[in-house]
Symmetry: C2
Subunit: 291 residues, 2 copies
């Protein structure tokens, strides 16, 4: 599984490097700032999920590479903007200075904008055979990162800081904030991979449950991880009065929930038989990760 994972990651990295190269023009600084965060050691989880779902449905992964890279750009832009002083005001991410610390705030705002924009440049330059399918996939991508997806989740997250919320509300928040683009990673992968309705739905169910398990694990790591493992100070969620699974239901119950959701995720893939083996192992790997 880990070999396979490495291959996917280096394929994604190669294409990201081509889509956003170093430039020698008057606006070279924006490329530098975009690349800085794009190549800051991300796990490439979303692209990997997309490639795997495409493959699991019997598709050609070349069909989804632009979409997979676009999703990583969108994920990266959201981190850059999230880290800004007006938002989470974080100086470190993955052990490195955040974009606005490395460059400056104005550049970080524009680099985020540019990554979101580039995502749509890349997917709209599709020149394959399944143009109708591609347009549908672009729409799924845009919907998942917008006001009824990721951005919607971010604003609800922001509004709920320093307020106590229920477990249901926390789930709504994450279903949008992190869940929506994890879901579009899997459903676009399945769609572009030629999956039928039933397969796309199974991929969606997998993603929905994995997304929650992944988020719970994130919250757990914030209290059980070390600064070295995380690349940022531990306990920062509690210090910033954020609502997390751990602050809401405690560590033990969180671990139980994480297990429950990751099992549900794996069960969603039954219809794929052996073809789901990679994603099942990946699920186990993700919820036992230390960073």
């Amino acid at each position: 599984m880990k070999e396979h994972l490495k291959e996917y990651i280096s394929l994604i990295d190669k294409h990201l490097d081509e889509y956003i190269p170093e430039k020698n023009n008057p606006q070279s600084i924006i490329y530098k700032a975009m690349r800085y965060s794009l190549f800051a050691g991300g796990k490439r989880l979303r692209p990997v999920l997309m490639l795997s779902c495409c493959k699991m449905c019997g598709g050609d992964i070349n069909e989804v590479i632009p979409f997979a890279c676009a999703l990583e750009m969108i994920h990266t832009y959201s981190l850059i903007h999230d880290d800004l002083p007006a938002m989470d005001n974080d100086d470190l991410r993955r052990g490195k200075p955040t974009n606005h610390i490395k460059f400056n705030e104005a550049t970080a705002i524009l680099a985020g904008d540019a990554l979101l924009n580039k995502a749509f440049e890349v997917v709209s330059s599709y020149n394959g055979q399944n143009i109708e399918r591609a347009l549908k996939a672009i729409n799924m991508l845009a919907m998942s990162s917008g006001t009824e997806g990721m951005i919607g989740g971010q604003i609800v997250d922001m509004e709920s800081e320093n307020k106590s919320i229920t477990l249901d509300e926390l789930e709504y928040l994450h279903l949008n904030k992190t869940g929506a683009i994890i879901r579009s990673a899997c459903t676009i992968g399945a769609l572009m991979g030629g999956g039928c309705e039933e397969q796309i739905e199974a991929a969606d169910n997998f993603a929905k449950n994995l997304g929650i398990a992944f988020q719970i694990q994130d919250d757990i790591l914030d209290v059980t991880g070390t600064e070295e493992e995380l690349g940022k100070p531990i306990g920062s969620d509690a210090n910033e009065h954020k609502n997390t699974y751990v602050t809401l239901v405690g560590l033990e119950k969180s671990e139980e929930l994480s297990k429950k959701y990751s099992n549900k995720a794996k069960e969603s893939l039954e219809i794929f038989g052996k073809k789901a083996d990679f994603l099942k192992s990946l699920t186990d790997y993700l919820i036992t990760r230390r960073n």
Copy 2:
């Protein structure tokens, strides 16, 4: 011409209102913030240009309405982010508090992101007959607002503040910063309106020249307008040590240049005969405007 202009504007406003309605959900605040800037009295120049170019090529304007609205969303997001404290730090726009003053910085950042994202949600939901053409238009839209278009121009503008630049450099900056999306307004209009290569090129030439004339006029108004006409303090460009046509070549020469470029714009439309009348009058109207 003015009647016609009003009709176009109210058509655009009606559709913008439908694309970004008031919402009654946990993320309602983001819709409120997006609408605040979207309906703050913009001239709708870019959508109007797109609709007119589509019509001039004999097309059905319903085909371009999603694209026209998307362009206005992109224009609006760029203004919201431009006004932020880390960027131009403006408190007023069109006589009203800027987005981050009315709401807060975090909400303004997200509202800008959301408008850019929404633009691509809208155009990718295209369900007409010319799907290949639509995908091409989405790509033109994305290219014009990205690092080799508007964002590229913004970063060059930022980098050149407090430096003296040449007239050529100023033109490069504006060709990207404001010019790129004025050009895509016209070329997408012509493309989706069924225009042939020659017509699309003519629309592009028109837009290129109009964009420069429009920018020069903007710079002129910054020194000759009144605060009431502009809805913001006059002379702010010079105070902020910005490079403008007026600071570079003076007022008289700027007026000459504005005339020259608007004439070139109108000449580009000769191949359309009488069908170009609206755009020619609009050009004259734009470069004699007082706000």
